[in-house]
């Protein structure tokens, strides 16, 4: 069984990437990763050999969806002006910004991802960013495989619609 440090070091990039693709903001991604690592720290003993990335993705997804549900219960948690200020004062991490500097398409894709309904975005990110098979995504989300298939397809279709006009 890997230690906490080993998991953080070997999968930190994976975790942060998935978290950033889900949340679209560096600050939120950091919080998400740290919450995941906290849960990991507490629950590593319960990990059974298998797909570690699947397990991490499941935790990440659950934490993300918990946050979504909390925001839905507290719609005024972040007021629009606060959101604007957060964007100005707390820009994306340097690493993320540098990566995106010469990659307008990546930036646009991320913005398009942000615009997807949560359930579509989660399915697409777990499939195309985390690289999980449909069955594992279905298990993570607690929905049938057919639902996963539909969400992935609709998510990709919406993404393409949003990015219409881009070079094919």
């Amino acid at each position: 069984m890997p230690t906490w440090e080993e998991v953080a070091q070997s999968h930190g990039r994976f975790l942060y990437t998935v978290a950033y693709r889900l949340t679209g903001k560096d600050d939120d991604a950091r919080d998400l990763v740290q919450e995941v690592l906290l849960r990991l720290h507490r629950g590593l003993a319960t990990y059974r050999p298998g797909s570690l990335e699947g397990w991490l993705s499941r935790i990440t997804t659950n934490v993300f969806l918990d946050g979504v549900r909390r925001r839905q219960r507290r719609p005024t948690d972040l007021l629009p002006d606060e959101a604007d200020r957060a964007e100005r004062v707390l820009p994306a991490s340097k690493a993320a910004e540098e990566t995106f500097q010469d990659a307008t398409l990546s930036h646009d894709i991320q913005r398009a991802l942000d615009g997807l309904p949560d359930e579509f975005r989660v399915a697409v990110v777990l499939c195309d960013v985390a690289g999980l098979p449909y069955q594992e995504i279905a298990t993570s989300l607690g929905v049938p495989v057919g639902t996963v298939r539909s969400r992935i397809h609709r998510g990709r279709s919406l993404l393409r619609e949003t990015l219409a006009g881009r070079e094919s």
Binding site: T3, W4, E5, A8, Q9, G12, R13, F14, L15, Y16, T17, Y20, R21, D26, D27, R30, D31, V33, Q34, E35, L37, L38, H41, R42, D66, R70, S93, K94, A95, A96, T99, A103, L105, S106, I109, Q110, L113, V124, C127, D128, V129, P133, Y134, R149, S150, I152, H153, R154, R156, S157, L159, R160, L163, R166, S168
Partner: protein, 218 residues
């Protein structure tokens, strides 16, 4: 039907269509010879049957025959791209994609989005996000977990700074060298040990309980 007195009912249409056994046919014929009501029913059914069969065949509009089958493959396009489709469905989906321009176009669009998503670069996490295990509080299993309302990074940095500042102050009083790694022991256990006065001397400093509790709350 064994007796002439029983009406043939549904058997009448079957008899007209020649879909009864010889024994059933003999019974129907015998019954119709004696039953005026059933004979009239036979005439009505026969007339309706003849009218339906006389309906002309229709020429299909040319566009309909050129169009693909009405059932499009939909989300099976993504499943096919992801190699997540049942093998027995594959030929049908491929045949549909070859025949249906709309689904073929949708396939190309979705494939573009899939490729674009998968080409997104991995992102390096900020260094402080991946903290060593010692920096994390390890709450006891019985204590409910509280979710931070503010970004956890700032909370932990503030907590660590407060603990570090406090530890420097406390250790400075007794002239002991301060720990080089301010993240050990774990923040939670350090705070638990030092945030309030206790009946006995402090485990680390050996000092008697302070007159006022030390608070690390913000």
């Amino acid at each position: 039907m064994s007796a002439v007195g029983e009406h043939p009912g549904d058997l009448l249409s079957a008899w007209i269509d020649g879909e009864v056994t010889p024994i059933e046919a003999a019974g129907v014929v015998a019954h119709l010879a004696d039953c005026i009501a059933c004979a009239a029913e036979r005439d009505r059914v026969d007339a309706a049957r003849g009218a339906l069969r006389a309906l002309p065949t229709l020429d299909a509009p040319a566009g309909v025959l050129r169009a693909a089958p009405a059932v499009h493959v939909g989300d099976m396009i993504s499943a096919r791209l992801d190699d997540e489709m049942a093998v027995d469905l594959l030929p049908g989906v491929d045949a549909h994609l070859a025949a249906c321009p709309a689904c073929a176009a949708e396939h190309d669009e979705v494939a573009w989005a899939r490729t674009a998503l998968r080409a997104l670069p991995p992102l390096d996490p900020p260094a402080e996000v991946l903290r060593p295990a010692g920096a994390w509080p390890a709450p006891p299993a019985s204590r409910p977990v509280r979710h931070a309302r503010r970004p956890r990074t700032r909370q932990l940095v503030a907590a660590t700074a407060a603990v570090a500042a406090a530890s420097v102050g406390v250790l400075g009083l007794v002239g002991r060298p301060g720990p080089t790694d301010t993240t050990r022991p774990a923040v939670a256990s350090f705070v638990a040990q030092h945030s309030t006065s206790s009946p006995g001397p402090d485990a680390v400093s050996g000092l008697a309980p302070a007159a006022l509790p030390i608070s690390f709350s913000r």
